[in-house]
Amino acid sequence: MTEMRDVAAREMKIGFRNPWAYSFTALFALFMLSLLFINAQGYVTGYSGSSSTMLNLALYLLPLMALMLGSFSLTGEKEEGNWALLSTYPLGTWAFLTGKYTGLAIVLLAIVTFGFGLSGAVGSLLGGGFNFATYGQLFVFSLSLSFLFLGVALLIGTIAHNRWQALTIGVGIWFFAIIAWPSILIAALGMMPYTWIKPALTVLTFLNPAELTRLFTVVKLGGGSTLGPEYYNWMLWIRSPWGTPVFIGVLVLWIGTALTIAYRLWERERRRG
């Protein structure tokens, strides 16, 4: 436990001195503010044009941020030889990885909180502003998205040998999960028998953290009926008292699985090395 805490503290120290973290903070805050200015008189509440735009902004930016910061952090250790040094100490791989995850998660938390804090404060001064519940839901959405992709990022950092590889894989995964997702699924599932489409789509949605969090948030914001009659049960279920705990459960399971796979790969490498 202390090992993990030490790794996390070190990661935070590196993370908050990393110019990347500050440029991402500035970028995210700038985008949030510009959306707010475009929508100057509008009050953001529930699932509407402005909240949907913010949702999409977060979907573009935050996964990319988490993927880069996370994977670079791990590959950096490899490239700079820090890991070679660290592995001579009695430091467990699991403590190392979870420490890394915790430290980076706090950095991401700070970035997202800064962006939301700024837009929340400026928004209420401008005359538009957010409904408090909607604000909270968008904030939780952004955090969940960042944490999920941070899990993926550590997996990429484990597989990649250097920053370039990490960047290539990271951007590839980002493009696949965010931009190309509907196109690929429509093309692939369009060839399947009609009755297979919905089950296949359901399974695949659970595999894509971006879609998972987006749909959860759309329903929580009150937009569940846009999904149509096919997903009526999802809507009822997410809005039931079980919705949030189970979503958190899925989140933990997702991140846990990503870290476990990363751990296995890392351990294999360590034994060989």
């Binding site: 402005s50 909180t113 209420s124 409904n131 489409i197 009926s225 999904l227």
Partner: protein, 442 residues
Amino acid sequence: MRTLPFCLIVFAGIVVAVCLSSGQAYAEQQPLELQQLLDQAKPGSRIVLPSGTYEGPITISKPLTLQAAESAGEVIVRNVSQQPAITLQADHITLTGLRIVDEAVKESASILVLGNRSVLDQLQVRTGSHGIQAKDANDGTVKRTTIEWAVDGMRMADKGNGIDLYNAHRWQMTNNTIRAVHDGIYMENSDEALVSRNVIERSRYGIHCMYTKRTVIKGNEGKLNVTGAMVMAAEQVAVTGNTFSKQSENVNSQGILLFDAHKTTVSDNKIDGNRVGLYVEQSTANQMERNQVSYNFVGIQLVEASDNTITSNQFWGNVTDAQARNSDDNTITGNYWDSFRGIDTNGDGHSELTYAINPLFQGLTRKRAAFQLFFQSPGMIFLEGLYQTERTRWTTDLSPLMKPHANLIQTEHQGDKLITGLMGLFMLSCTSLLFYKMRRPK
């Protein structure tokens, strides 16, 4: 003899009725057989009931006025039978100020109107069936009346309608409040009805026209229904100045729906926070103008609709402004779409660039409904941007407005804006402090 005092009271009642020149009868005491009093009243007389509870079912078979005394206390007509609480069999019957408690779940309505020119005023109806039903009866009036569903835990589909008209023409329904029924006001084969300034909540369809002509739906308010106003197989209906909000809970919700509707006018309505604001399917020659369509998930949806005129409407804050399929020969001009950025080269306030509605998503989800999951996802918006074939056949606003009209409504109360602001400030200062603390030491 126990019946003797009773007979005396009835006799006294009749005497009073006869003596008063205006034809007014006062029922002095109760409990009383209301039916008997009605049977003995003269046609055209006015019966004023003192407060108290009267047992139904009752049938009125001659023109008369039955009203509650103006004094404090309620006149309650209670019915536990399977018949209507009150049946109006004759023409020219007026009911005023009664409270009808008819909670049995049954086929027959709480108030059944079979005669012409009935007036139902200031009633309060708690029903386990249709609140007021008129069959083959014309020229009736329902005003200032409240109708509520009485039985908890029933499915919407098993409930009765608030006001149900069948082959009943020229009815006027104004200033009524209807809650939690099946359809608020249902009109079938009933022409030239006036539906005005009613409030309808938590029902299936607020106002529902089936095979009607020249219905006027004006200044009503619909909230949290499945659909605000549904105009089906109807002609020359006018839907003006209504407010329909928050019809968004159901997967089939919309503010106003036109299906197989023709020569209908939909104007000056406020359509706010619904799943689909305006839904138009297989309808022709309708006029839709000056509506304010805001904060819906889909502003306007056109499906196989043609020859309609859609002008001067304002769409803003919707998740997506418009969806359209097979609806390319409508006249669409001069609407304001907040997601569209046009260019006005000649300064007439209209964009020279047209606003075309991308049909990709509609076409996709019609064939495979499961893909509805991608509604407004970033990847879907990206794909729509790529898909530009046959643009000339898309539903298009030829000269969209550059700016919204000044009278944009802001319906939401913004009470917790300040809390969000303070929370934002708190989050901002916490993170700033963290960034400062964690900085590289000099």
